[in-house]
């Protein structure tokens, strides 16, 4: 009964991965007519001397680190806030988590045009009301804008998970602690935070995997530019693969991305195994 699912997954993930492995040691470009030939580790050497590749790794790290930090801190604050008795609780929750359900291309274009455009975007109009001159934020600080859009998408994710976890916290335990004379801060430190450690870890790991792979948001807003200021690893590989059709280099970089993700996966599976009780 397991076989069909496993065969399907094998065909659609490990078979292509095997091809990636083979392509990564080939000189293989589709735009130049030639027969692909073995080139040893040249593709990898070329990557490590390509300043654009190195920049893309740095950019990936920047996006991942800053977005996780902001969404986690913000998500914790929001989760604690929304855990109170609030008038219109359900509606507030719906509004807060909404960005997570929006198609990434839609979210990114709304930000780029309707909100941040220097001519007609709502923020520039508000700035003009105050007599300030609007800035072309995507030209001046492109990376900050990408991060802004991605945080907007992932803050709701962190909030939703942490809030769900807070609500599953046994209130009896907190009440008992309160009766024993524990102060609010002690409860937070010894009951609530330990309870949140697992969801926090899961949020970090899940976001790591998804944020490494950010693609659509960059494609429709900056296309990796200006220069390669917002090119992350995923976008770099995409441009090598489907813009330059340099199969060998794209495969080599793709393989590095897989190896990188594997490290994270290794840590992740340990946590998931423990929490699901496998």
């Amino acid at each position: 009964m397991l076989a069909p699912a496993m065969a399907f997954l094998g065909i659609f993930s490990f078979l292509p991965l095997a091809f990636t492995l083979i392509f990564s040691v080939l000189r293989y470009r589709l735009l130049i007519p030639h027969i692909p030939s073995f080139c040893n580790l040249q593709n990898f050497f070329r990557l490590f001397t390509d300043s654009q590749f190195l920049e893309s790794v740095g950019n990936t790290a920047e996006i991942v680190f800053v977005v996780i930090l902001l969404s986690l801190v913000g998500g914790l604050a929001l989760a604690f806030m929304l855990n109170h008795e609030i008038a219109g609780k359900r509606l507030v929750r719906m509004l807060v988590i909404s960005p997570f359900f929006i198609i990434p291309t839609v979210g990114a274009l709304i930000w780029k045009n309707l909100l941040l455009d220097p001519a007609g975007g709502v923020f520039s109009i508000i700035l003009k009301q105050f007599g300030l001159s609007p800035v072309d934020t995507f030209a001046v600080m492109p990376m900050a804008m990408i991060i802004l859009i991605v945080v907007w998408q992932w803050l709701p994710f962190a909030t939703l998970i942490l809030l769900t976890s807070l609500q599953s916290l046994d209130t009896d335990q907190l009440e008992a602690a309160g009766l024993d004379g524990a102060k609010g801060f002690d409860c937070l430190l010894h009951i609530t935070l330990p309870h949140l450690m697992r969801p926090i870890t899961i949020v970090i790991l899940m976001e790591l995997l998804y944020l490494m792979a950010i693609f659509a948001e960059i494609l429709v807003t900056t296309a990796g530019g200006p220069g390669s200021a917002t090119t992350n690893l995923t976008y770099y590989i995409y441009s090598k693969a489907l813009l330059e059709f340099n199969v060998g280099t794209a495969a080599a970089a793709g393989l590095l991305a897989v190896v990188l993700a594997n490290g994270i996966t290794f840590v992740m599976t340990k946590h998931i195994k423990r929490s699901v009780g496998l």
């Binding site: 009964m1 699912a5 997954l9 991965l17 609030i86 291309t105 899961i202 793709g254």
Partner: protein, 271 residues
């Protein structure tokens, strides 16, 4: 923890934050009722509302093609993935083998592999098999992407079913078929429904394979909206109208099953 008293200070703050976070979406909704000219030149004048952006979107025949592609990709990939995941999850839960944990982790690891790592081979294989820019090609790829999550999520629901019920059925000599269709599926119906819903949401919003493997024929809404990024297009009102139409069904799904989503998105680690 006073659980009945409404805290007005926190209420005010929460509403403020909630409106700030959802402002881009609210603004998108407002702009969709403007003309393209007024969306840029008079965005704050709300007396100028019109339905012309919506009629413009509907008049464009292509919109319905993209919508159809989205529906086919989302529903098709969900049906396919559920059909593969149901027997797999049943077997993992109720006929456990010693290497179950290893298999579960293997399934999980396929999800953890970054899609970009296999973009080039998939593109070339699809090109060879004439699957590029086809609905079938997208359905297969998107189903493969969501299958691990679906198996894990189903497993986590099946595990909550008391094993005694299944055992009792087996003692009565019920066939495997009957065991699944008459006992398991009715008991796990709510879980099945939310798993399918999550799969539809993820497939609808998928924006990696759709952008890279589809063109004029098979592009779903996520790829269609991306075409508004071209610099000559100042069709903000139309962008807003098309966007609203594309996100509203999924937004409603998301609101309906938020709690269940958490289970799926964390592989059952947070409930």
């Amino acid at each position: 923890m006073n659980s009945t008293k409404i805290n007005y200070g926190v209420t005010a703050l929460s509403w403020l934050v909630a409106l700030l976070i959802s402002f881009p979406l609210i603004w998108m909704g407002l702009m969709s009722f403007k003309s393209d000219f007024n969306a840029i030149h008079n965005p704050f004048d709300f007396s100028l509302w019109t339905l012309e952006s919506y009629t413009a979107v509907f008049r464009d025949q292509a919109y319905f093609l993209y919508l159809l592609n989205s529906v086919v990709t989302a529903v098709g990939s969900t049906l396919l993935a559920m059909a593969l995941a149901l027997p797999a999850a049943w077997s993992l839960t109720f006929t456990p083998s010693p290497n179950r944990s290893g298999i579960m982790i293997w399934i999980l690891s396929t999800k953890m592999m970054p899609a970009i790592g296999i973009l080039m081979p998939v593109f070339l294989i699809y090109n060879k098999l004439r699957l590029l820019d086809t609905q079938l090609g997208l359905v297969l790829m998107v189903a493969a992407g969501n299958l691990p999550i679906i198996i894990w999520m189903l497993f986590s629901y099946f595990k909550d079913i008391p094993f005694e019920i299944i055992e009792a059925a087996r003692m009565d000599g019920v066939s495997v078929r009957k065991e699944i269709f008459s006992f398991l599926l009715p008991l796990a119906a709510p879980g099945l429904a939310s798993t399918a819903l999550l799969s539809v949401i993820l497939a609808w919003n998928e924006s990696f394979w759709t952008l890279n493997l589809s063109g004029a024929n098979a592009a779903p809404l996520s790829a269609f909206i991306a075409s508004f990024s071209s610099p000559q297009g100042l069709f903000w009102a139309r962008l807003s109208a098309a966007s609203c139409l594309s996100v509203i069904p999924i937004l409603i799904f998301g609101w309906l099953c938020q709690r269940h989503l958490v289970r799926g998105l964390t592989f059952g680690a947070v409930k």
